[in-house]
Point group: C2
Chain length 417, copies 2
């Protein structure tokens, strides 16, 4: 089956916003063994939208349309789809009622322009949007299923997985089972992973493997397809085991696992507490850890010690050490980790100090120099890293490295690998 | 001037790689005062590429093609373009010689498939690629300039700026000028902005307005078009002034301004220092502020005080206050802001405490209850908010609210509006 994707929004054709919905959709459609005939992105413009619809209908067996379902004047997708298909518009009273209730509940005054979000082309079936106000809809055009979704990423993604793909499967009468598993890897490059996997026989019937780099990590996604559900699962498990054996400790999690989620689960399961002292990562480690529900169970405190005075005050690092070795040094990093652990009274202390740039680099310690230290009852370890990239990426890779060091320590891996 | 963009690659239509070239190109074309008619992404497939070329040629005054210029069998862009335009292929001897020299220089054995990268459609003009082996090319089709570039981001971006845009400027004769301004707004909904703007007469010749929501903020982008450059600027300024007058303090910045960047600039300009104490925002405020180069000039310290003990230790909040009013209370928030300011010895203290969920809510203080407090030489203010949304979004909106409160205080706005 060929699926066309039409993405609508001036913010995309002007380059103001990077579209990520179509790539997400393409990945999920690919997993279903469907092919994307083309992705077309057009502005909020009647003739561009109609032209795109016509072109994609001509080369596709199904159509996914995203964006332009908001309440404002430039949101014209619904009207354009209706016009392109020669349909009128109707107000869905249930949706209108839900919209008004939603506004009342969150104490936002109702304005009439919002009623637009309850308008749908005649004959269209509403697709619920539990995540927002813009419902999607489904209709058929010459036997081709067409689904229209909002452009807000979280809403579009949810609706694609919960509403659109099941609907397409139903229309197609697909018997094929698809199972997939993402294997999340950190600290191996794509070509290194490729080389390692070439040593395993992964020619398993119906199994395919794809690489999805997302800085600073890479996911290897294994997809298994076939008509026999048990066989599909069995083949997936076989491939997964081979990859797991080969890549070992470089694998930090599976599917939606995040590094911070994995670390949080390890700490919580063992009843261990953590205190974090960040300099160059500027709060990013703590921010990521506190994204995990229940992080208050293990995270006693976090400090961001940008000034030397705060390193002395909040961590007890002697000013003389900072004077002698510098704020960015192994000595300071070690004392930061030990200090935050001691003062927080926690099992573990984690610390970063470095030069995120663009200024502050020297010949001996150029921009991208980062020290990460981990202190526990077994002592303190510290490692120096040298990154290229710019400020934000240096923060991101450093935060990931620090969390990974903690993960490896907690799982008995080689911490300094 | 309408420019079509065709992006080619199976890695894109399968969702393995996120295309960022087309968004980059769209932005750069916009800067050059051209409009993107459509962006189309297709796989490495003859009929999909030909269909895309034909469609885009029909709606565009110029065409940018990216991807599929490598040496391997699936790189078929050059052949497809030649075929679509009824042209043969020729070998460019200079390019072939350069390719062989390049291989010799980096000690990679020459293989004949690489000669493919010296093939171009008859009549095409080669566009140099200083960053890689795949040269681009330019040709005209019924007076429409068509440029073809490699898909490797750094090469495509370089060639677009150095080769393609100058070439289009030379070939394309449009006198139209376009100027735009993004007006970045926080704490007004899209429909509220729409309503407010409806009260201004924004029917200015050549001026159009678009909404670009990016949670938790919205940008209103004003675009002004016309042949007279001075008039275009004048109309843009007129529209911008009307919007600025209408939305006032809800506007926190323009174009690429971020909330943290604006706050950082205000603090730096005035030589003020800041200390931040975060509970429910979990380090996100500090993370955002430290994304700004030079933030060490004003950010003395940040503390993330998840435990009650850390609120006592690091901020001097009396345990009795926490016991009596709760960690999530106005009393605690005020003492957190005052404590971090006093202990950091800074001009300003900023604090958040709340319930990000999913657990921890009570009837009196449900999930989404957040207190933000700001302490300065003029005293301490605190406000309670009630948010819906999930954990991450509660963190995001709370961090933004806190930064905005600080911005309003620094610019004499109504802080508690």
């Amino acid at each position: 089956m060929n699926v066309g994707i039409l993405v609508i929004g001036d913010e995309l054709t002007s380059g103001m916003t990077q579209d990520t919905n179509s790539s997400f959709a393409a990945r999920e459609l690919y997993v279903q063994w469907w092919r994307v005939s083309a992705v077309m992105t057009v502005g909020d413009d009647v003739s561009a939208i109609r032209g795109g619809l016509d072109y994609l209908l001509g080369i596709s067996d199904a159509l996914v349309v995203m964006g332009g379902l908001g309440p404002t004047a430039d949101d014209i997708t619904t009207a354009c789809v209706a016009k392109a298909f020669g349909l009128g518009l109707y107000t869905d009273d249930t949706v209108l009622k839900q919209l008004k209730e939603r506004f009342a509940k969150i104490h936002i005054p109702w304005t009439e322009n919002n009623a637009k979000q309850a308008l749908f082309p005649d004959g269209a079936v509403v697709i619920d949007n539990p995540a927002g106000t813009a419902c999607g809809f489904f209709l058929e055009r010459s036997g081709i299923p067409v689904t229209v979704m909002p452009g807000v990423p979280v809403e579009a993604r949810n609706m694609l997985l919960e509403g659109v793909i099941p609907l397409f499967r139903e229309k197609l009468g697909s018997r094929e089972r698809v199972a997939k598993r993402a294997i999340n890897i950190f600290r191996l490059s794509e070509s290194k992973i490729d080389q390692e996997l070439a040593r395993e026989n992964l020619n398993i019937p119906g199994v395919s493997i794809g690489f999805y780099p997302r800085f600073p990590q890479i996911s290897v996604v294994v997809t298994s397809r076939g008509e026999d559900a048990a066989r599909v699962e069995e083949n997936l498990t076989r491939a997964e085991k081979k990859i797991t054996n080969r890549l070992g400790h470089y694998i930090f999690g599976y599917d939606d696992d995040t590094m911070e989620g994995v670390v949080a689960a390890l700490l919580t399961d063992r009843g261990l507490t953590l205190a974090v002292a960040e300099s160059c990562t500027g709060g990013l480690i703590i921010d990521r850890l506190t994204d995990v529900p229940g992080s208050s169970l293990f995270l006693e405190r976090g400090v961001v010690v940008y000034s030397n005075a705060s390193k002395v005050d909040l961590l007890g690092v002697p000013a003389s050490i900072i004077d002698k070795h510098g704020a960015v040094s192994e000595e300071t990093a070690v004392l930061m980790a030990e200090g935050v652990r001691r003062l927080g009274g926690t099992d573990i202390g984690l610390a970063t100090t470095g030069i995120a740039g663009p200024a502050g680099g020297t010949e001996e310690k150029p921009v991208g120099t980062v020290f990460v230290a981990l202190s526990s009852g077994e002592g303190t370890i510290c490692r120096r890293y040298q990154f290229r990239w710019k400020r934000r990426r240096i923060k991101e890779i450093s935060a990931q490295i620090a969390l990974d060091m903690l993960r490896r320590a907690l799982t008995g891996g080689d911490i300094l690998a």
